[in-house]
Amino acid sequence: MVLDWLLGMIVLLVKLGLILGALLFGAAYLVWAERKFLARLQIRLGPNRAGKFGLLQPIADAMKMLTKEDLVPDGADTFVFKLAPVVVAVTAMLMFAVVPVAPDLVLFGRSIPMVIADLNVGLLFIFALSSLGVYGVALGGWASNSKFALLGGIRGAAQMISYELALGLSLVPVVMLAGSMSLTEIVAAQERVPFIILQPISFAIFVISAMAESKRIPFDLPEAENELGAGFHTEYSGMRFGLFFIGEYVHIQVLGALTAVFFLGGWRGPLLPPVIWLVLKIIFVALIMIWIRGTLPRLRYDQLMALGWKVLIPAALVNIVLTGVLILLV
């Protein structure tokens, strides 16, 4: 009894450590990949001084951020100012807790689920965390006591709330098909056909609103550098800025994992081991997001809101009705 409990605890801690480590490592090298890939798209070389192919660049960046002066601007609300980057980074990392990385592992006669927490409301857990992530942006902008940051924060909050609706509605058909909100069961439901084939419209809406949620070009209005300085994190420096940065890149990985779980069949794939498949799918989605960043210009604010409210949400609603009709008929 006690031994079981202790073993469960150890397994949980090991899983937590592995996933956190992988996420942070991934975030560091995603930055490198983005800089390299973006540079190639723009016919530049990108970082190439630190180590072979600039592979040590993330380590140099981390050193720089840790040793830089950490400034709190005059008139800022100190507590809220310090809280905001933590909220962004922590909510992004916690989202990974419900993502299944592989099928159950049988070790010494015990079955170990390869997910930190298989909640029966896993999908809503993700939405809860992503709606809490809004606070990091809004509060960071507000607490900086700077008008650029405030504008960026307000824009960010409005954008994230608007696109969260479309994000949620685009996943309703997935839940209808899988009959569950647990991510493990959603992956299990895609044993024969991944949902991208059954739900192409949902997939498109999900990817577009996920990119808007992650606040990257073409949806980077909260930090539009040529009008708002750097938006909500204008006043941040040192490792606090680093936390915003980590949050953004962990978020990209989480979105890649979610796209994989909801539409690409999760860890399923031939030949290679499941974990590798999941990682490959995450990298694939991340690279596509970087590619889009290198290709498209930024939307105007009214275009952004019109796209969210007048195109994505109605399309998602129609898609839900259609899916319902098809499920009833078939």
């Binding site: 809220v80 029966n120 409301v121 809503l124 709606s131 606070y135 509060l139 307000i154 009959g179």
Partner: protein, 172 residues
Amino acid sequence: MTVYSLLFYLLSLLTLAATAMAVTRRHMVHAVLYLVLSFFGTALLFYLLGAPLLAALEVIIYAGAIMVLFLFIIMMIRVEKEDDRFFPFLQWWPALLISGGFLAGLLALSREDLVRQPGMTVAQALPQVFGIHLFRDHWLAIEIASLLLLIALVGVLHLSRRRRADAIEEAP
């Protein structure tokens, strides 16, 4: 005392403390933040009391939508500090009387078995089962709720449209 009840009392304490901080803050942004913490605690209590779906919805709707809306308005009309006055101390007594009287009434109703009462059995409403229950036995209420949301949407649209006309008139 089991882990379960320990968690319950800890979370209750957290929720109550956060709410107490929230209702006494002068700075509205701080009040909103403490209230978010309070709703978070309530959501965890919901989970403990066997309603995982409602726990998630509580965070999404209360903390993620309603409180963000408050924050939004506070940031937009910039009234964080000014105008935030309490009632004068002299006029607190009606408030204390009403809240206290209400509390006393509730306590009187449940006093007889506050200490030695059998605990509730632990159960959890699975999301699937809850959904079926909701749409079979409460479908009319769901329709009414959706109508209410639509009416609110139209109402808010109307209010903000008239406001825009005012802003143009008042512009110097």
